[in-house]
């Protein structure tokens, strides 16, 4: 994809990219930390603490894969997206794009790398400027990165992008309010694709849409991935959507990753108690299966990220918690005694397979 990022048209990109060998990381996130300071005072502000929104997140995004990032509201998954997009400054840790540390790049090199990471936003009603036409919205990336497309070529490119995402290329002079929610999200996706990125960070791209439209947009994202060889970081809280689109899934809790593995490993063989509790809350359409499954009801609320529990973050709500959980932070690793699909990274001292959805 890198060689086609300049001067290539969307039509060229249509050619099906060969499935890439797994295990070639395109984005490596290492110990990512984001603390938002809590300040006191109006004129002379004093730092009195920090909200630990993201507190040591490590994962790899492989070329051509979709990594799902799930977790409840406030667990820091959107902050991870904003950190990867450089919308927030990183407190600690590093993000490596093809081995280059983004924090160490600057100027033109950084701008060139940034071009390869684009974002699709959650709410298609607020993420498009109401006073700009579709041509201006989708073409704006070319104004900011003029080296990607010569000026005379832009209109044609915008039309190709609209066609690519399933919108009528004739509609480039319309305004966002003349489109439905699903169509607007397609415009947002077209804007994200304008610079021929390799990575798309999708922050809850379908949660603001109707269920039927969600399916269209998810299918569109999959189609684009197949055609353009994109890598997705797909952030969502809808577990079934994530399972559908993801090759691998990471579960976040209170600024840390609780468990990470392939979709089969996470959904059919979860070993972290939090993942098990999350999965047990997914509605089951089969009445028979519903009666025979176990619901894990967690007690209490998510602790404040300004003052997270010591050791394991989940211990305050975990039914397996023992003394060691408060003293020792569980590392994200494969636990001994687990085999088969259950053998994947899990941040629990007592990781143990538990069949929640009754798939096996």
């Amino acid at each position: 994809m890198a060689e086609s990022s300049n001067g290539a048209t969307a039509a060229d990109l249509r050619k099906v990219v060969q499935p890439v060998a797994q295990g070639e990381p395109i984005l490596q996130v290492r110990g990512l930390v984001k603390h938002f300071p809590i300040t006191q005072g109006i004129l002379f502000q004093k730092k009195i603490g920090a909200v630990k929104a993201v507190d040591g997140v490590t994962f790899d995004l492989m070329k051509g894969e979709t990594l799902g990032l799930v977790g409840e509201s406030g667990c820091g998954k959107s902050t991870v997206a904003r950190l990867l997009m450089n919308l927030e400054s990183i407190t600690k840790g590093s993000v490596l794009y093809k081995g280059d540390d983004l924090a160490k790049l600057s100027g033109r090199a950084l701008k060139a790398v940034r071009r390869n990471i684009q974002m699709v936003f959650q709410d298609p009603y607020t993420s498009l400027n109401p006073r700009m036409t579709v041509a201006d919205i989708v073409g704006e990336p070319y104004d900011i990165h003029p080296e990607v497309a010569p000026r005379g070529d832009r209109k044609r490119r915008v039309q190709e992008l609209l066609d690519l995402v399933g919108l009528n290329p004739e509609h480039i002079n319309r305004y966002p309010h003349q489109f439905s929610g699903g169509q607007r999200q397609r415009i947002g996706i077209a804007r994200g694709l304008a610079l021929n990125p390799e990575i798309i960070i999708a922050d809850e791209p379908v949660s603001a849409l109707d269920v039927s439209v969600q399916a269209q947009v998810v299918n569109l994202l999959e189609k684009l991935q197949n055609e353009l060889g994109l890598s997705y970081l797909f952030i969502a809280h809808d577990l079934s959507v994530v399972r559908h689109i993801s090759d691998r899934v990471a579960v976040m809790y209170l600024g840390r990753i609780a468990e990470i593995g392939t979709d089969a490993q996470i959904y059919d063989h979860p070993t972290h108690p939090y993942t098990q509790a999350l999965l047990s809350a997914v509605p089951v359409p089969d009445p028979d299966g519903r009666e025979h499954r176990e619901r894990i009801i967690l007690t209490g609320d998510v602790p404040s990220p300004a003052n997270p529990p010591s050791g394991c973050r989940f211990r305050t709500r975990c039914w397996k918690a023992q003394d060691i959980c408060a003293e020792q932070e569980p590392l994200l690793q494969i636990r001994t005694g687990l085999d088969g699909l259950a053998a994947h990274d899990s941040a629990c001292h007592f990781a143990e397979e538990k069949d929640i959805v009754g798939a096996s």
């Binding site: 684009q118 006073r131 999959e222 399972r243």
Partner: protein, 337 residues
Amino acid sequence: MPDMNKQQREQLPTASDEQPQFGSIENPGLMLADEEGTTLEKRGAYAAPEVQGPQSKPRGAWGEAWRELRHNPSFYVSGVLLLFLIFMAFFPGVFTDIDPRHCPILDTNKDPSGDHWFGTNVQGCDVYARTVFGARASIIVGVATTALIVVIGGLIGALSGYFGGWLDTILARVTDIFFGIPLLLAALVFMSSFKDRTVWTVVAALGIFGWMQIARIMRGSVITVKKSDYVVAARALGAGTGRILGRHVLPNAIAPVIVVATISLGTFIATEATLSFLGIGLPPTEISWGADISSATTALRDSPYQLIFPSIFLSVTVFSFILLGDAVRDALDPKLR
């Protein structure tokens, strides 16, 4: 908006022709109905809205506001009045052949007649001619002062709203200090320090002491807009501050400023008249409604017409601008209705 509905109706099939439901967690395959099929269907469907013809021409948010404005009777009333007054300000010769500075003292304090439609003033000048020629000062002061406060207030408000932090703290305090000074008093002091007072001195006095409301409105508006997702999206694309402010923040934050500016235009005209009435506005050599109203008060009992006619013109002008401001507000912010 009948034609909008039509458009939406025709777009509906595109939005709902794809049916897949999300499957359960155990059965994710369910939601993959078909991909090729839907794509083809869509290609066929999206051509549909074309048949609507030229009236489906795209309309932006400003276009919508303009359409809204054209359906508002008060826009027509104020628009016609203002066009008339502006025409009068720039081409007074069309309305009268009489020289407003030709004042035969023998004609002093005459009542309206065929020769002098509005009568004459104490010096024998024709009140009708003076009223017609007086429009220019009022219109210039109103329009120029409003332009000035939009620039000053808009700039200060946009900077403090967009950048926040210490810059906002400083600019907010400066705004508060200026807010504490009464406009008329400050303008009086400012004007009295100039020997040669012209229309532009009045504009400067009113502009320097009249921008605070615009600044506050702009600041609030910018703060709201800068948090919106499309601004974040522009930042994510790597847009610089200039582009974000110019292309995304200002076009979306300017609407309330336009409304307040239009309404305050009328009040600036009234303030200019007040200053001239108090004798500190335009010099006697300039013709202005305020100065004429002021000098007419001495002859109020003998000859009230020389006070009444310029006052009516002044009131109608101020009223027209305020009415226009109301219409613009209704058009730009339908929620307020």
